[in-house]
Subunit: 349 residues, 4 copies
Amino acid sequence: MAEKIQASIIGASGYAGGELLRLLLDHPHVEVKQATSEQHQTKFVHAIHPNLRGRTQLKFVSAAQIEECDFLFVSLPHGSASSKMPELVKLAPKVIDLSADHRLRDVAAYEQWYGEPHPHPDINAQFVYGVPEVNREALREAKWASGAGCNGTATQLGLLPFKRAGVEIVSALADIKAGSSESGNKPNLGSHHPERSGCVRSFAPTGHRHTAEVQQTMGWTRDDARIQMSVTAIEMVRGVLATIHVQPKEKLEEKDLWKIFRGAYKDEPFVRIVKDRQGIYRFPEPKILSGSNYCDVGFDVDPQTGRVVVISAIDNLMKGAAGNCVQAMNVMMGWNESAGLGFPGLHPV
Amino acid sequence: MAEKIQASIIGASGYAGGELLRLLLDHPHVEVKQATSEQHQTKFVHAIHPNLRGRTQLKFVSAAQIEECDFLFVSLPHGSASSKMPELVKLAPKVIDLSADHRLRDVAAYEQWYGEPHPHPDINAQFVYGVPEVNREALREAKWASGAGCNGTATQLGLLPFKRAGVEIVSALADIKAGSSESGNKPNLGSHHPERSGCVRSFAPTGHRHTAEVQQTMGWTRDDARIQMSVTAIEMVRGVLATIHVQPKEKLEEKDLWKIFRGAYKDEPFVRIVKDRQGIYRFPEPKILSGSNYCDVGFDVDPQTGRVVVISAIDNLMKGAAGNCVQAMNVMMGWNESAGLGFPGLHPV
Amino acid sequence: MAEKIQASIIGASGYAGGELLRLLLDHPHVEVKQATSEQHQTKFVHAIHPNLRGRTQLKFVSAAQIEECDFLFVSLPHGSASSKMPELVKLAPKVIDLSADHRLRDVAAYEQWYGEPHPHPDINAQFVYGVPEVNREALREAKWASGAGCNGTATQLGLLPFKRAGVEIVSALADIKAGSSESGNKPNLGSHHPERSGCVRSFAPTGHRHTAEVQQTMGWTRDDARIQMSVTAIEMVRGVLATIHVQPKEKLEEKDLWKIFRGAYKDEPFVRIVKDRQGIYRFPEPKILSGSNYCDVGFDVDPQTGRVVVISAIDNLMKGAAGNCVQAMNVMMGWNESAGLGFPGLHPV
Amino acid sequence: MAEKIQASIIGASGYAGGELLRLLLDHPHVEVKQATSEQHQTKFVHAIHPNLRGRTQLKFVSAAQIEECDFLFVSLPHGSASSKMPELVKLAPKVIDLSADHRLRDVAAYEQWYGEPHPHPDINAQFVYGVPEVNREALREAKWASGAGCNGTATQLGLLPFKRAGVEIVSALADIKAGSSESGNKPNLGSHHPERSGCVRSFAPTGHRHTAEVQQTMGWTRDDARIQMSVTAIEMVRGVLATIHVQPKEKLEEKDLWKIFRGAYKDEPFVRIVKDRQGIYRFPEPKILSGSNYCDVGFDVDPQTGRVVVISAIDNLMKGAAGNCVQAMNVMMGWNESAGLGFPGLHPV
């Protein structure tokens, strides 16, 4: 096995940062050099990420102590990542930013959805949107890549096959069921267990920001209302299920859909088509994906109306965040795309 | 207080039957005469419905032992209710059938959705669809009434205000999140806790039978594809949340929607409009409705596209089954419509 | 029905305060006059307790605005209640304090368990420990009563029959499983849903303060180590299950235990003995008690060792807090002890 | 890497069998040859274990088709394993039986706890109890090993340090909180989601069979009542938490306990001592162990009474079943003891 590269994580105390640590600590080609947290500096990383107890003696350091490395992951809150990016990109030849700050190439769309102009459009322009299934070739040459939004990833991987197959979509409505870890690790009344437990909470009935990423991937303009997203928070910690109600322009039958989806995904290492005639896991379900990097996609079609229901499931912290970024790193470094991402998920769970 | 009437329940060991028992045992105008269960005859009802321990010494009897009474509730499986109905209606002057067998006036629609001709169209024709918000006047005179499907109830109470206000709907897509008690009390692999727990399972992406009830209430024909329903089973025992994505023909603003919903529901005892600017329960949520007969409805509108998202929550065993039927009985008997339905739900829960 | 008394609640925005509101708003002999909250003053109570929407137009007021009333409930944090009690008791002829401040008659025990001297031992001396099953006669004459700790209530109601029957206990170990609402409504990292969800967390392996209440009820001194308590937080919002491992001095058989428990509880309106040979609810379980005021108790005995396992379940916000206090009020006022406490709990749930 | 051995699994459709498949499919030294299931023969293993979709094209075969292999895992129901063992041991030079049938060396204890004489005491005598922490040296030479009971494993790993340190225990009461996967994959009313969800169910207050394994490991006779176990089923799919209330003969202080536990476990690859002064994961918790092979142990001591509370957490399907058996196989084969057991568990989860 070749020498390992040294990777560091800016903002490693959050949930995505912790998941990155878990993955990188066991990655065959990576050594974790530094992990920053202002709040927890000097503490062992396992004091915050208890699953890592006994796996590493690494301690959090302040971002002020960060050193040059081979690969830098930035896992800072939205807004904070872009403002620090001019300095951060000097630290390593390759950078992946997990935040929402560098996902949209169209800075006008950024301003529309995030409510303020992008602080560094020049830097933003050099980022590659880091979903390998969408952008693999560009990633191979990229020095900087963004992560992708979890709900946006589940949705676009459900719609991408139509684009690849040249099937026109009249409307697509993604009704998303989301877990509590999507909202990060800061407690508030809405996340307080007696309030959050068992909820079915209309979190963002309209206006979800990840819409912009789906539009970008599908090649739709920012005023194109073909894609609508609604997010409902349910009793779940990890996981996203996107139920995407698609009205194609021309009527599709089940065999057409098999062809469309197989065409897009038959060689993808992390997308599985799940559509069975029997059993209880006939369609994608997020619970068996916890900890895995899979995106499971399936579909159903209403023979009467031609409405297609695409069902797409991911673990929001894996394919929706850290796992996808490790996959992107593997592409950027020319490694086996599955390196360090071997965990298949559990059953029962 | 006046003398109580005597009510009996055919099929009282199921979940809806148990909820009926709970409600009727504390109803100010009702005495429970008999409760049948073939499987559990001779057992105390609290052996099956443990919440009733200490509340009644009633025992299940066989349907063969059923006697005449003042009001009969029929809570048998689909198909079984209609085949026995000719005999059952002789037992009491007033009957409510909770099953799906007598909900649709159009027996052609029944045949289309349930896959076989209705066995007794003549009897079916005399039933009134028993949702008071939809059908109050007819219920006042009814001798026989049906219950309503839980998912259908949540959906139609979200859409009814548009009909009442004469607002034309281009399309309505109800994405429904449902609890495990919807599927009844018979164990199977899909309901086995290690498999069902934490699931986000696409139960009926297309073709849900309750669609027929919504069409009937909205005055849409059975081939009218304006209403589409998808059901996803989530981690929840009781409860339905319907997220109904509505495209109205003409653009509506928030104030229009307030007017439409207040117009329909301002005097309804069991429908609350829930749409707050702050707090964590800004939209309807089923968990605070467990045990209550409320249907909470709210809405949001996308200013860009005019898409309206109506959110409707019920307890499937209450407003979606037993509670609604007690409300219907109260209407049929000319009692206070809220009698016996006073429990408001819990918080936190 | 006679005229209603006017009751007010100091500290009505917490979980026990909200449950009191729910109960008092439907109580046949009570009208809620005022409900205080410093943080939420001027807001509708249903803004904080969403289950009360449509049930009352009451708004929170500041404690500074509190007026005289017939019955005062104090639901303030520990320490705060006792420091304000000299003023509060002037407001009403009858007072119940739900806090931990006036539960222990022995102020030395108070100091030992709560780490500081009691601020008003004279006032404390006039309080009656407000568990009707323990103290009914004293409550009939009481002007001031305390509530009781939820875990302490579950434990003492499991042990009281032994005392009543004169059975000597060598040791009693209460292993308690508790829900998240026990810790109140203030968010923190430990209550953050992704962290609290699914936990089995050793909250207080030793040294639980409610031990003092159990000792007081059993007549054991504060250095008597016969009672030990451990609390584990589990996935549950409401509910306590106490598994109490009892070693009696003399060997008891099952029929002895039936006699002991029936002797203590056969006439109690809110204690049910649950010990069935078949079915799935053979022993007490908290989930079917949510919203009810029952304490269900059951037992098992190891024929080989004579160890008795007493199992005791309550809803911590009902029999463990607000419900018990309404029951105590009913006793203090000479009303039907069950008034306003009729909800039996749900199944399934 | 050296050539892989061929391993087969008898009874691979159950939960432990599925977990074995997951582990062995990614084990560096093992190739899965055959996996049997009578009910599911000819189906893909991923039809039953959906997490394995895309990981293997293996199909279940009937036990009648089983061939010789290098290592055989037997994962049959209790009773079935021992009756078939005379034939099964001919299939491979090394065998591990996950069932309860060959765990107890004392066949009189077997008869007492399992209610019938052991069918093959001669074979049973040649089995080694397969918990490496208890029996590592014997396992190195073993040809046949048993698995261990999940609750028994959590309990004995909490008590073993006392035995190793020569500390006499007066009494030990293990109060165990268990998940639903412990009861296997056969649906019944008790496992039906609406009934099992949110339960806190006294499953075995007394008389739990795993007591026998703890007695065997601790060197206590089968009539020695020093160890008592109670099992309560809680809302959890995977996981065991044993809260073990230990009364040592001589008073121990915290530093003594550190010495006792470090002495036993400092070199163990899969036992971690978890006892922190701050943070929310200060004691062991099963949820962060899902999928990992760790047993986390911690302790607390009551300074007043000397009662020690040992807290021990495992994933019942991993360290409590399949993971432990893979660890035992690694010992039996002379491989790195951690081979194939690298997954650390998730956080948050």
